[in-house]
């Protein structure tokens, strides 16, 4: 007995539909009741919002295709200008009639032409007594197009005087879409996120046939236990599940454990999943590299993502230049005297030590500094005498090319170039360690 009841559609179709949309039955039944029968009018525009991979596109497509309702499906990221969008809709509309599977290209410049051509198409195709659905996926891109596109689509039913409903699918809430002078408000429908039970049910659906459903369900349980607090995106979880399953099955394949030995399976997979979170989840290494490493049975400890590379091999003076740049960025200029002069005299304690936690420079980001200050600090931290040769200056430029320093402001400044240091604290500490320089002693924030 299907959950969906509709006078218009046969029971078999509805049963088939229900099997294709697990955990989304409520939303599909509300959509079915809103659509009504084929020739009935429905809301002029419907706005469906929900998180990534909460099934909006999939459910919409499945529903419209299974019930064979005349529809046009357009992705607004593909058709990113209004002209591409309007032409795509008209082309798909042409191909709705059965003789002409591939519509010929219809040129359409403006929304005015679109309305006119749309009215013509509906008449020629005999679609007058059925609701035509236009689905715009990734509708947040519509805000970037001309200002009349979004309000125009909201009112399409009124402007063309035809039975058409426009459906917007988006992640972003409607309040951020609304134009300034108002518009025809669409009906907003929320697609709730999947609960952990739903996720388990859907992910267990994809189990490979060689293993039992229970075995796979236990694996999904472990996976969700590690990743659920971080990520609820169904697509990401499915990707991770597919990548790590072979590693999970290894003890069973090698004969060390049977399917029910959960503790051993868990011990095997746990560190592996944690490594996955730092690398594959962040897309720091590709999934093919990940699979290769699993096959080679390499130690997970050797695996490092891109951002974990702690240091770059730099020449001696470049390292000191970088350290000097870091100090110049993160220490305020008035404190240079205290750090870099041998005899800095008495400094008023109160003025100096007053720091608010918020203004800690490590929270606010690096500040720009002039070239002279950089060289001054460099001379004071390097032991032997450094001459300001072209060598030094070219090393500064190569640091800029490596994007360890950034040039701030225009190229030709009257006062000389200003730079900013863009490396993290861990990076600079690693570098300072290689030259035996204790950088923490020289940082104002760690006084």
């Amino acid at each position: 007995m299907p959950n969906f009841e509709h006078p218009e559609y046969p029971e078999a179709t509805l049963l088939h539909l229900e099997s294709m949309v697990p955990c989304r039955e409520t939303q599909v039944s509300s959509l079915l009741s809103i659509f009504g029968e084929r020739q009935h009018f429905s809301f002029p525009s419907i706005f469906i919002y929900g998180h990534t991979s909460s099934g909006k596109t999939y459910v919409m497509q499945t529903l419209l295709e299974t019930l064979e309702l005349p529809h046009v499906f357009v992705n607004c990221v593909e058709c990113f200008t209004s002209r591409l969008l309007l032409e795509e809709i008209l082309t798909q509309l042409q191909s709705l009639s059965s003789e002409n599977k591939h519509g010929s290209h219809v040129p359409c410049d403006t929304f005015n032409d679109f309305v006119r051509l749309f009215k013509q198409e509906i008449i020629t195709q005999d679609l007058q007594n059925q609701t035509v659905y236009i689905v715009l996926d990734k509708a947040e891109q519509l805000r970037e197009m001309e200002a009349n596109v979004l309000p125009g689509f909201l009112r399409l039913q009124e402007m063309t005087d035809r039975n058409v409903t426009v459906i917007f699918l988006s992640e972003i809430v409607w309040e951020l879409f609304r134009p300034n002078t108002g518009c025809l408000e669409p009906f907003t429908l929320y697609f709730p996120d999947y609960s952990i039970g739903h996720l388990q049910k859907i992910l267990s659906h994809y189990h490979p046939p060689e293993y039992s459903a229970d075995f796979y369900a236990a694996y999904i349980n472990i996976l969700l236990g590690v990743f659920y607090t971080v990520c609820r995106d169904l697509k990401e979880l499915r990707h991770l599940a597919a990548l790590n399953f072979t590693k999970y099955c290894e003890p069973v394949v090698r004969g060390e454990a049977n399917e029910r030995d959960t503790r051993r399976l868990w011990k095997n997979i746990e560190s592996h999943l944690k490594k996955a979170m730092q690398t594959v989840y962040l897309r720091e290494i590709s999934s093919s590299q990940w699979e290769k490493i699993q096959q080679d049975d390499g130690e997970p400890g050797h695996l490092k993502g891109l951002s974990a590379h702690a240091h770059v091999e730099l020449p001696y003076y470049s390292k000191f230049l970088l350290i000097a740049a870091y100090l110049a960025s993160y220490n305020p200029a008035r404190t240079d005297k205290r750090f870099f002069l041998k005899h800095h005299g008495k400094i008023k304690k109160t003025n100096f030590l007053k720091k608010h936690e918020k203004t800690s420079n490590h929270l606010l980001g690096p500040k720009p500094f002039p070239l002279d200050r950089l060289l001054a600090i460099l001379y004071s931290i390097v032991d032997n005498k450094v001459a300001p040769t072209a060598n030094i200056f070219s090393q500064i430029t190569s640091l800029v090319t490596l994007q360890l320093l950034t040039l701030v402001g225009h190229d030709d400044q009257l006062d000389g170039p200003k730079y900013k240091c863009t490396v993290s604290l861990d990076f600079i500490r690693a570098i300072a360690r290689t030259v035996n320089f204790d950088i923490i002693k020289y940082l104002y924030d760690f006084l």
């Binding site: 009741s33 009504g36 998180h51 929304f111 005015n112 972003i172 609960s195 971080v230």
Partner: protein, 436 residues
């Protein structure tokens, strides 16, 4: 025997329900001109008089219909036009040109559309005109048919009038109003707009040619009238085929309007927005639950519809975030409380999060910085936080200043309903900073 009879009644019901749905859906979604008007009798008379003077007596005029969105401007105009077209003389002579600010985004397109609607494409042919004014004058001159010595009256209807004001030099408006003041052809220009300050947007020369006749539609009905409108909108018309069903339906509507819950629902709705369009949305939603097994609307249908119309969408989005993202939002809330709403960057939020992990968290694993960064960027993608100056390439991503687009009440409400929220996270959210 009884089985056959019940089958007949159920099939009658199925067809009957389908017809009910058809009629009511057309009324709510498509605003057919057969519906009734409410509370705008004065404005209706005014507009009808105006248009009669143009079409029958040959006077030129201009007027603006001003009212907030959904107050019934287009519906009023359509009703007036329908009554006007009942006179044979008007039907044969009057030419209508419907322009819309959303469709005709500049004057060239507008002129082509006017030519098309007056069906003058053949007459104009390939002629090239010097200016807009010449073109328009030619079109109106050509409207004189054969032996008539006077032109047919033309009615220009400009929807979304406030968008025409932004065209270059307001050429179209200037010419239309100019013709309505000076030319021999009886021309009436009616503009519909939702902006009350529309007159300030008009240029001086355009404003002086406008007759300053304004018709206001201000949704000026009180709750008792609103209840009456609710009833009228739900009544089935007397011509409906299935007479016994019509009686039962209308009686049900009457009893609904006297029901306490329904009145509360309508009262809430009335306080939020008075206009008829939102009432139509509510009724349409309630209507969609009418089936053969549930043929009469109940108070709970309306209650359900009202709830789904008034959900807080941001709270729904927060409901679907992962625990790490919720922790970041709570960290941002604390930063906002301490520093009174000043913008923050990722480094500050991460710092707060670290403080929580080190001191209070038992259930949260200490995630690596890039993982936290990915969660932060997900929040950015959902537009729950927004950078202050737009994303610039030069600054590092961790130090870009942002602000949070949720306020404290929304966050606390969302946390109450968040599924499986770890208790230490909840406690962190409600704690003041005295433990810092």
């Amino acid at each position: 025997m009884s089985k056959r009879k019940s089958k007949e009644t159920s099939s009658v019901n199925g067809e009957c329900i389908s017809q009910v749905q058809r009629i009511l859906r057309e009324r709510f979604c498509h605003q057919c001109p057969n519906g009734k008007l409410f509370g705008v009798q004065l404005q209706y008379k005014h507009l009808l008089e105006l248009l009669k003077r143009t079409t029958i007596h040959g006077e030129s005029n201009s007027a603006l219909i001003i009212g907030p969105r959904g107050s019934g401007k287009t519906m009023l105009l359509n009703h007036v036009l329908k009554e006007l077209m009942e006179a044979k003389q008007v039907r044969e002579n009057l030419m209508q040109v419907h322009l819309n600010g959303l469709l005709q985004t500049n004057d060239k397109i507008a002129l082509k559309e006017i030519t098309r609607q007056l069906q003058m494409e053949n007459v104009v042919g390939d002629k090239v005109f010097g200016s807009f004014a010449e073109n328009l004058a030619f079109l109106l001159e050509a409207l004189k048919k054969g032996d008539r010595d006077s032109s047919c009256p033309v009615l220009f209807i400009l929807d979304e009038f406030d968008l025409f004001v932004h065209h270059k030099n307001q050429t179209l408006l200037y010419n239309l109003f100019d013709i309505s003041q000076s030319a021999q052809t009886p021309v009436t220009v009616i503009g519909l707009t939702c902006r009350q300050d529309i007159l300030e947007l008009l240029e001086k020369r355009v404003k002086s040619r406008f007759s300053h006749r304004q018709i206001y539609l201000m949704n000026s009905f009180d709750f008792k009238q609103y209840l009456r409108i609710f009833k009228e909108q739900l009544y089935l018309p007397a011509e409906f085929l299935y007479k016994p069903f019509t009686q039962k339906w209308n009686k049900n509507v009457q009893s609904l309007s006297e029901d306490r819950t329904v009145q509360d629902v309508l009262q809430n709705h009335f306080h939020c927005s008075k206009d008829l369009r939102s009432l139509h949305m509510l009724l349409m939603l309630a209507l969609s639950s009418i089936t053969v097994s549930h043929p009469f609307m109940t108070g709970s249908d309306l209650l359900e519809a009202s709830k789904s119309c008034r959900m807080d969408s941001k709270a729904n989005i927060v409901h679907g975030l992962s625990v790490l993202e919720i922790c970041l939002i709570i960290a941002m809330k604390h930063l906002n409380d301490v520093y009174e709403g000043e913008p923050f960057n990722f480094q500050m939020v991460y710092n707060e999060f670290q403080k929580f992990i080190q001191r209070k968290a038992h259930s949260m694993y200490n995630f690596e910085k890039p993982v936290v960064m990915k969660a932060f960027e997900h929040l950015l993608q959902l537009e729950l936080i927004k950078p202050i100056e737009g994303l610039c390439v030069r600054a590092q991503r961790e130090y870009l200043l942002m602000k949070l687009l949720l306020d404290n009440n929304q966050i606390m409400d969302a946390l109450q309903v968040y599924p499986n929220c770890p208790t230490d996270v909840k406690q962190w959210a409600t704690s003041s900073l005295s433990w810092l």
